[in-house]
Symmetry: C2
Subunit: 203 residues, 2 copies
DNA sequence: TTCAATTGCAACTAATCAGTTGGAATTGAC
DNA sequence: GTCAATTCCAACTGATTAGTTGCAATTGAA
């Protein structure tokens, strides 16, 4: 039976994803990752390098996967809202993503935007998003996309604020995910329509 | 010359605010807080207790201060947009706030919503925000307030995403803060109008 | 079978960290 | 001036942590 190096790497990457999502870079523990993966700690260093290199690998893998998993399709404000809704759904299933994105923002800051491949990927994404809303310019598209990503990823991370502001004020929690998803989708539709109207008024 | 205990506490609290804002709970170092404040480390424990107690104190102090510093005023969608703009401005000056809010979300999670006084404070805030937009119900108000807080606080924390999506796609950075502030203010106005229209359509 | 490369093991290492301690210095009441 | 309480000091402590090490076991090519 041969060594299954790829499987070992996968186990470690999965364990690292969970650990970094839960604790961030500073709070994560290499021992825990190894134990959780059922792999000797020394293998981590052999395959992935030091702690922050493993963190970078986890981020690159997970954030890239998200962009591939939720494609843009259709045209018009409803398509924009649909995209937001699907992104929201994806994050419910892959709950590590929003946390990793904010850990990245907090722990790596501006340095996180220095990757040329990633810059290109996002440029293409913004361009593609613009095509969903005929008539708007690239800046409008990029700003709206930033709004979508902020709202969708921010919601689970600021769950305590949802509890304080919405649940606390109105009393009955109900299905919070469904309600918030609904609000975000409709908000995106409204903002997309407004963006188009604004672009038309300027033409 | 008497001991100035209150001054020592203030120095420590300021240093702790900066440290926790920069590094979060797991990444902050008590030695650094003490050094930065020019105070002996042992004083921290005497005055504030252990590390996570100090963190809680910093959070309570800073987040409470924010709510007091940016009051709600006026009525109508423009008032909602104005509030968002003033909140945005405040966070530019007090750059620790957004980061602390997201550290809290990531590092303390749902437990952060367990404080009775804070629940009450947010309930009152949501109620007051509802009064800005006559006709809308409390749930609409709370959801829109959550959207505002998410966008305003999320922007600095996701600065790398701004760079990737907006700057990367459109080329010239310009004054990003002003541009993003403008987008948020107008978005809030649009969403506030839509919320009122929706409430009216249901009446 | 041999041999070099790689994986696997678990103990080890040096540094770091939150928290503590004993004693000196200071304060303010009496 | 005395005295108890408090602040200040800086060294200490024990636990934890990222990373390393020496050696055994395994793999696959020749």
């Amino acid at each position: 039976m041969a060594w299954d190096t790829e499987r070992t790497k996968r186990l470690l990457l999965e364990a690292a994803t969970a650990e970094f999502s839960e604790h961030g870079l500073a709070g994560a523990r290499m021992d825990r990752i190894a134990t959780s993966a059922g792999v000797n700690k020394e293998r981590i260093y052999q395959y992935f390098g030091k702690k922050d290199e493993l963190f970078a690998t986890v981020l690159a893998t997970q954030l890239r996967e998200t962009m591939d998993a939720v494609p843009l399709s259709g045209t018009g404000p409803a398509a924009a809202g649909d995209y937001a809704g699907r992104l929201f759904d994806h994050h419910i299933i892959q709950s590590t993503i929003p946390r990793l994105l904010f850990w990245e923002g907090l722990e790596r800051g501006a340095g996180a935007a220095a990757d040329a491949a990633r810059i290109e990927y996002h440029r293409v994404k913004a361009e593609r998003f613009r095509e969903l809303l005929p008539g708007i310019d690239l800046e409008q598209a990029a700003e709206l996309l930033l709004t979508i990503v902020t709202l969708v990823n921010g919601w689970p991370v600021l769950g305590h604020l949802d509890t304080l502001l919405v649940v606390g004020a109105t009393g009955a929690p109900g299905d919070r995910a469904a309600a918030r998803r609904n609000v975000i989708v409709r908000s995106v539709e409204v903002l997309a329509s407004a963006a188009q109207a604004e672009a038309a008024a300027r033409a």
